[in-house]
């Protein structure tokens, strides 16, 4: 088990290195993408400040806490994009018939579709973001105890697993229909709602964001864990929902693979 995990990590590092080399070939494109990511981050940041200067607080959260939620959103969102960027290229692979070759390799069938491409630009963005995040939480004394920190890290990993489950589900839809371009963007649009604490939304919306595409568990729960605002029921519930989503996605993926007819090749 451990040996096969190490082997997969080694392969992932190799695939990521190739993806990075390919991306760095066109430096100008890299610069443009980086500028875009930074501009988007800063503009939302300024917008957040403008709202907070008018409202003073959001759903009972003060300025520092709202900024903290925004930073956690960015960390998880970028991390998920960084790791599972392969999904955005999977359609082409299925339509062109290249996925047949991937299926012949001694790798889990979902490895290429989900982990087949790693975005180095997201990684470059993540480094300063993590540094700023750590400086921010320490300078504003936002985490209450070391237990909160451990819990945050566990729930952060839980979010990545949940992100993986959703991306795998999208890949399964792609195998069945070859049409996923917009499905993954629906996920992105919904997760964008968690830029701000999801408590600001009405109860009905919060239920949707917990049970459909569980944005609350993906982003709000880890943030609340670090702030020490999470009950043990919510912690258990978060792991349970992720487990269910992962189980459902793996089942659906297996079903989709059985339907794969390799028509394109």
């Amino acid at each position: 088990m451990v040996r096969s995990a190490v082997r997969l990590i080694k392969i992932w590092l190799m695939v990521s290195s190739r993806a990075a080399q390919s991306q760095l070939l066109s430096r100008w494109a890299g610069v443009l993408f980086l500028v875009g990511k930074i501009v988007r981050f800063l503009l939302f940041f300024v917008f957040l400040f403008m709202i907070l200067s008018s409202t003073q607080n959001l759903a009972g959260y003060n300025r520092e806490q709202v900024i903290f939620f925004y930073l956690v959103f960015n960390l998880i969102d970028i991390m998920v994009q960084f790791l599972f960027r392969g999904v955005y290229q999977f359609r082409f692979s299925v339509v062109a018939g290249n996925y047949d070759i991937d299926l012949l390799k001694p790798l889990p069938s979902f490895f290429r579709p989900v982990f087949g491409w790693t975005d180095i630009l997201d990684f470059i963005t993540l480094i300063p973001l993590w540094i700023y995040f750590l400086l921010f939480i320490f300078s504003h004394h936002l985490f209450t105890s070391s237990t909160s920190l451990v819990l945050f890290l566990l729930l952060f990993i839980n979010s990545l697993v949940l992100g993986f489950a959703f991306h795998l589900f999208v890949c399964a839809v792609c195998v069945l229909t070859t049409e996923i371009d917009h499905l993954v963007w629906v996920y992105r649009d919904l997760t964008n709602m968690a830029r701000f604490p999801t408590d600001i939304y009405q109860k009905g919306i919060q239920y949707i964001l917990t049970f459909t595409i569980p944005v609350v568990i993906l982003i709000t729960v880890p943030a609340k864990a670090l702030l020490g605002l999470l009950s043990w029921q919510w912690i258990a519930f978060s792991f349970l929902i992720t487990g269910l989503f992962l189980w459902g996605s793996l089942k659906f993926w297996k079903y989709a693979l059985k339907q794969y007819s390799s028509a394109s090749s």
Binding site: A29, F33, M50, E179, L190
Partner: protein, 273 residues
């Protein structure tokens, strides 16, 4: 003469029909695209409803006017920012452009026809979706009180439609020289465009210095200015000034798109075509 006009119109009808049929080849993708647009609208709506809470006014906007802004954004995204001319870049790189070059149709007319079909189709569904949402969620919507507002709005809307078409065409035409067209389009045609056009939030909620910078670009005239006119938050003089500036940007981008197209067509190698 009449026969010539009829023959000329016929090819545009045929092109419109083909464009429409393309959407229904990948039906699930189209449904998901509409669903995505609807989700985008709802997320923006619920966000502002949450921010307002019990407040009647915030950031210089009354609640009803901000909700009207959000509804307006949904319509203008379909009508102004809906476009197919982005596909031009891919066709240049793949060599598929050759097929169009051999057809008896002008390049601008070809893409404009496809754009119009795209806009009308999306507008139809937007009316349906947003209409249902507005009805069931009982969203208060602001209608202008003055007649001239409708005139200014319609005029700026037409200018904005053409301005976006030429901006989009201009960005796509870079594909004649570079393979990195997606990065250019993503930065200028998505990030800058959506933020600076006011498609996420009204630009005037931002600090003055940033507004000043954004107003130097053509983007605010695509969404923000038309909606400010609709909400009657601009004087007649400012509205006319906005329309004139938009017209000026339109001329600039028409010339730039034309120039890039002329030069690019000479440079076109039809690789893979």
């Amino acid at each position: 003469m009449n026969l010539w006009v009829f023959a000329s119109m016929k090819k545009y009808f045929q092109l419109s029909k083909l464009t429409l049929q393309e959407y229904f080849v990948y039906r699930l993708n189209f449904v998901l695209w509409r669903f995505r647009s609807f989700v985008f609208f709802l997320t923006l709506l619920f966000f502002w409803l949450a921010i307002y809470g019990d407040r009647t006014a915030l950031l210089g906007y009354e609640r009803a006017k901000m909700l009207a802004y959000v509804v307006g954004v949904a319509f203008l995204r379909s009508f102004v920012l809906g476009s197919r001319s982005a596909d031009l870049a891919g066709q240049i790189r793949s060599g598929e452009l050759t097929k169009i070059l051999l057809c008896p149709i002008g390049m601008f007319s070809f893409w404009l026809t496809r754009d119009v079909v795209d806009k009308l189709l999306n507008l139809f569904f937007t009316f349906l979706e947003i209409g249902i949402a507005v009805y069931f969620l009982r969203i208060p919507f602001y209608f202008p009180q003055r007649t001239e507002t409708y005139l200014f709005f319609a005029l700026l809307l037409v200018l904005a439609l053409f301005l976006y078409f030429f901006v989009s065409f201009f960005l796509s035409a870079f594909a004649f020289w570079t393979e990195e067209i997606w990065a250019t389009r993503w930065l200028f045609g998505i990030i800058f465009l959506e933020f600076f056009a006011g498609a996420y939030f009204p630009i005037d909620v931002l600090p003055g210095w940033l507004q000043g910078m954004i107003n130097l670009t053509p983007f605010p005239y695509l969404v923000f200015f038309p909606l400010k006119i609709w909400l009657e938050q601009l004087s007649a003089a400012t509205a006319i000034k906005g329309i004139l500036i938009c017209g000026l940007w339109l001329i600039i981008f028409y010339r730039l798109a034309n120039l890039l197209w002329q030069k690019g067509a000479k440079n076109y190698g039809a690789f893979g075509g």
